[in-house]
C-alpha cells in the first residue's frame, strides 16, 4: 500500500455561516460554500472535473449538488458515512485525484438539520425498528457514566471536567465569525443547564445546525498554479466498526467498555502511518476533533493519542488543549460552538485547519501551525463507529 502523503493539495475552501438557517435551503448553502471555495482557488466552476458530496439526510444521489449548481453531466457521487460523511467526500475526492482520473475535484458536505422539526438529531433512514432507538445523547451519556466509573471520578467532579471542555469550545467560538454560537459560557452556567441525558447537560451537547463546507482538490504538482499557500494532504484514515447503530446490535464487553473509541484508534493509526507521525501529542500542532458531546472530546484526547489513557483529565486541567496550549483542539469552537450540520462537519474542520495553516485565523490563530488533524466519528459508543481522520499540513 502506498501512502497518500503529499499527492493531493487543497487549493480552495469555502464554508457557510453555520447557524439555524431557516431562510436558506440545502441548495442555497451548497451554492454559497462551493462558490466561496472556487473563488478561493481562483477557478471557475466549470473547471471542476468531478465532485463528491457528503450528506446524511440532505437528499439522495449526486443530483443534490448538480441541481443546486445547475450542472449537467458532471460525475458526482453522493457518499454517506454518518457524521464522517464530509471526510468521506474528501477522502473519495482525494483518491479521484491521486488515481490520475481527474485534475480538479470538488469535495463538499451539507446538512439541513433545522428542516426536521425537532431540536434533536433525527435519522430518517431509521434505527432498527424493533431493537431500539437509543439516540446519541443516551449512548454518549452511557459512555460518560463508564468513564467516570472506570477512573474513579465522582459524578459532580466529572460534570465539572466536561464543563471545562464546553467553556473552552464556546470561548473559541467567540473568535470564529462563522460559528453557530459566539458567546462565552461559564462552568457554573454549564452545570446549571437543563439535563439532556444524565450526566450530560445542555452545554455538553452540540447543537443541530445548518451549513455546508467545500474543498477544491488538485494534484500537488499542479497546486502552485492555483496559489502559493496551498495545503497538502498528509494522511487519511477510515475505520468502520463491526456494529451498526441502526441495526441494534451492540458490541459485547470484550470489544469495548466505551471509555476508548476503538474505531478512532484504528483510523488515526492509518493516518499517522501515512503522515509518518510518531508522537501525535508533539507532532500535531492543531486539531479539530469530533465533539458531538463534551465526553466525546475527552475520550478522543486519549483515543487519538494526544493524552495517555486515563490522563486526559490532567491535560484539561492544565489547559493543554486551549488556544495557547500545547495542542490547541477545536480552535473554531468545534461541533459544540461552531455547530454540527452532520454531513458538513468534517470539511468544516479541514476548513479551520486550512485557515490556521495559512495563518489567516485572526484572533484564534495558533502559533506555528504545522500538521493539523481533523477527526469525525459517526455512530455511537454503544453501536459502533464510522471514524475518519484527515491529516493536512503546509507545503514543502
Amino acid at each position: 500500500m502506498e501512502s497518500i502523503k503529499d499527492k493531493v493539495a487543497i487549493v480552495g475552501m469555502g464554508c457557510t455561516k453555520f447557524k439555524e438557517d431557516f431562510e436558506h435551503s440545502t441548495a442555497d448553502m451548497l451554492i454559497d460554500a462551493v462558490q466561496e471555495a472556487s473563488a478561493d482557488a481562483g477557478i471557475e466552476l466549470k473547471a471542476i472535473n468531478a465532485a463528491w458530496i457528503g450528506t446524511l439526510f440532505g437528499g439522495l444521489t449526486g443530483g443534490i449538488l448538480s441541481e443546486a449548481l445547475q450542472w449537467d453531466n458532471v460525475p458526482i457521487t453522493r457518499v454517506e458515512n454518518n457524521c464522517a460523511s464530509a471526510l468521506e467526500a474528501l477522502r473519495n475526492g482525494i483518491f479521484g485525484i491521486a488515481s490520475g482520473a481527474y485534475d480538479v475535484v470538488l469535495a463538499v458536505g451539507v446538512e439541513k438539520c433545522k428542516d426536521t422539526g425537532t431540536g434533536s438529531l433525527t435519522f430518517p433512514y431509521g434505527y432498527h425498528p424493533a431493537y431500539g432507538y437509543m439516540q446519541a445523547p443516551a449512548a454518549y451519556a452511557s459512555a460518560a457514566i463508564r468513564y467516570f466509573n472506570k477512573y474513579g471520578i465522582d459524578i459532580e467532579e466529572g460534570r465539572r471536567l466536561l464543563a471545562q471542555i464546553a467553556v473552552k469550545n464556546h470561548h473559541n467560538g467567540t473568535l470564529a465569525p462563522k460559528a453557530h454560537f459566539r458567546s462565552e459560557i461559564t462552568i457554573e452556567k454549564a452545570l446549571k443547564a437543563p439535563i439532556i441525558s444524565w450526566p450530560l447537560g445542555l452545554f455538553d451537547c452540540c447543537p443541530t445546525t445548518d451549513g455546508a463546507a467545500a474543498a477544491i482538490l488538485v494534484r500537488s504538482d499542479l497546486a502552485k498554479k492555483f496559489r502559493d499557500d496551498y495545503v497538502l494532504v498528509k494522511g487519511m484514515g477510515l475505520a468502520v466498526g463491526n456494529r451498526d447503530v441502526y441495526s441494534g446490535r451492540i458490541r459485547e464487553r470484550e470489544n469495548s467498555d466505551y471509555t476508548i473509541w476503538n474505531e478512532t484508534v484504528a483510523a488515526c493509526k492509518q493516518a499517522y502511518e501515512q503522515a509518518n507521525v510518531k508522537d501525535p501529542r508533539k507532532e500535531i500542532s492543531v486539531a479539530s476533533v469530533h465533539d458531538c458531546f463534551t465526553i466525546t472530546e475527552l475520550i478522543n484526547y486519549e483515543s487519538l493519542g494526544f493524552s495517555p489513557i486515563g490522563k486526559a483529565k490532567e491535560d484539561v486541567a492544565s489547559g493543554f488543549f486551549a488556544l495557547d496550549g500545547g495542542l490547541p483542539v477545536n480552535t473554531d469552537g468545534g461541533l459544540k460552538a461552531f455547530g454540527h450540520p452532520v454531513g458538513a462537519s468534517g470539511l468544516r474542520m479541514v476548513y479551520e485547519l486550512y485557515t490556521q495553516i495559512q495563518g489567516k485565523a485572526g484572533p484564534r490563530q495558533v502559533k506555528n501551525a504545522d500538521l493539523g488533524l481533523a477527526h469525525c466519528q459517526g455512530g455511537n459508543p454503544t453501536g459502533g463507529f464510522q471514524a475518519a481522520v484527515a491529516i493536512v499540513g503546509p507545503r514543502d
Binding site: T116, Q135, I196, S197, W198, I250, Y258
Partner: protein
Amino acid sequence: MVGIESFGAYVPLHRLTFEDIGKAWGVGAGKGERSVAAEDEDSLTMAVEAALDCMGSSERNAIDSVIFASTSSPFSEKQAAVTVGTAADLRTDISTLDCSGSLRAGTGALMAAMNSVSAGSCGKALVTVADCRIGRPGTPFEAALGDGGSAFLIGDSDPAVRFMGAYSLADEITDYWRRSEDRYVHFWEERFVLTEGVSRIVPKAVGEALKKFDLQVKDITTFVSNAANERTYWGVAKKIGFDLARQVASPHYSAMGNTGAAFGPMQLISCLENAGPGDLILFANYGNGCDVLLLEVVRDISESKGRKGMAGHLASRKTLRNYNQYAMFRGILPPRTDRMPPIRPPATVIWRDQKSLLRFHGMKCSNCGHVQYPIHRVCSACSMTDAYEEVRLSDQTAVVFSCTVDNLGYGSGKSPFWAIADFPEVRTRLQIADAELEEVNVGDALEMTFRRLPSENDMPVYGWKARRIR
C-alpha cells in the same frame, strides 16, 4: 386427576391512591389504592408476566395449549394467546385460544383447559387471565378498577390442587358492557345491576352447584368470588350463608382494585397461597351468569406457588406521583406531540426477527461458544456463519453496566430510559421499565419484563424490557 399444577399472578408495580383520584376531581375519597398498568403494559403483557410467574423454571416444552382470557385484549382481530405463547417461549405445535367478552372469561378458560386435559386431548394447558379496563374519568368506577393478571398451569401430573367439579349458569342481562368501539365501561343503574345481577345470580348458582356436588355451605373451607365492589362481595357471601370471618377469602379491592376478568382468578391465587392440604375451595365467578368451580387442596402447595404470586406482587409497589401520571399511562390525556419521524416497525421485521424480539433468544456460537444478542448469522468472535444454538434471555437476570434517560429521545411520547445491561454471557441494550433514573445505579440487578414497544403504526409491537428486581 386433573388440577392446578402451578399458578402465578401479576400486579403492575404502580398504584394510584384513592386520595389522589379524589384530589384530581375535587371529591372525597376512601382509603386505599388501585393498581395501574404502566404506559407500556396491557392485558397481553400482564398475561405474559403472570405466565412467567406461574411457569417458574418448569419444563416449558411440556405445555400443549395456551388460553388467553380477557375483556380487554389489545386486539379485536389477531389472537393474543399466540403472542403469549411465543413470549413465554413455548412450542409452536400447541393449541391457542382467546376467551373474551365476559368477566367470567377466566373460569370459562379454566374449565375448557380442565376438560381438554381430562379428555386427553392435551397434556398441560397454560391458562392466562388478565384485564386492563378503564372506568370513565371522574366516576367512582375509575377508582374502583385495577389492572392485573393471573396464570394457571392445568395438568394431570399429581396436581396439588384437584379439580372436583364445575357448575355454570347462563344469565341474560345488560349490566356491564363495552361495544368494540367503546373505551370506557358502560353500566346500567347500580341498584338494578347489583340486585338483579351478581347478588341474585351468584347465590343461585352456588346453591345449585352445592346440590350438584352434594355439599353444604359448611363443608366449604374457603369461598372465593368476584363482584363490582367490596360491599357487594361480602353481601353475596353473607346471603349464601358463609361465615364471613372464617370461610370467605378477604378481597383486594383497596389494594389493587377490581381487576375485571382477572379479579376472581387473582383472588383464587391469593386463597391458594394460604391454603393447606384438605382445604375445599369454592370459586364462584360472575359475569353474564356464573361459573362455580370446586377445588380440593390435596397436599402442600409450596411447590405450586408462583415465583412472586399475589403476596409478592402486592407487596412490591410504587405510588404514582399523581392522577395525571395515571391519565398519561392510560391515554386519557393526549401524549406529547412528537416531531420525530414516526416509529413504524414493519410487520415483516417483527415476523422475521421474532425469535430475538418475542422469544428473547440470543445465540451461542457452536464453534467458539460466544454468545450474542440479537441472533446474527455471523459470530462476532470467530466469524463462523450459520452455526449456533439459541439461548433464552427472558428468564435471566442482568446487571446495569451503564444507564441514562434521554430527555430528547423519542418513543410513545415518553423519554426513553436506556440501560446497557450485562447478562451472564452477553451485553445488550434494553429499555428500563417502571423506574426513574435516580432509582437505578451501575451494578444494580435487572430482571426482564414483557412490554409494548414504541410504535406509531396502528399496530401494537411487543418485546422485552428490563426492570429492577421486584
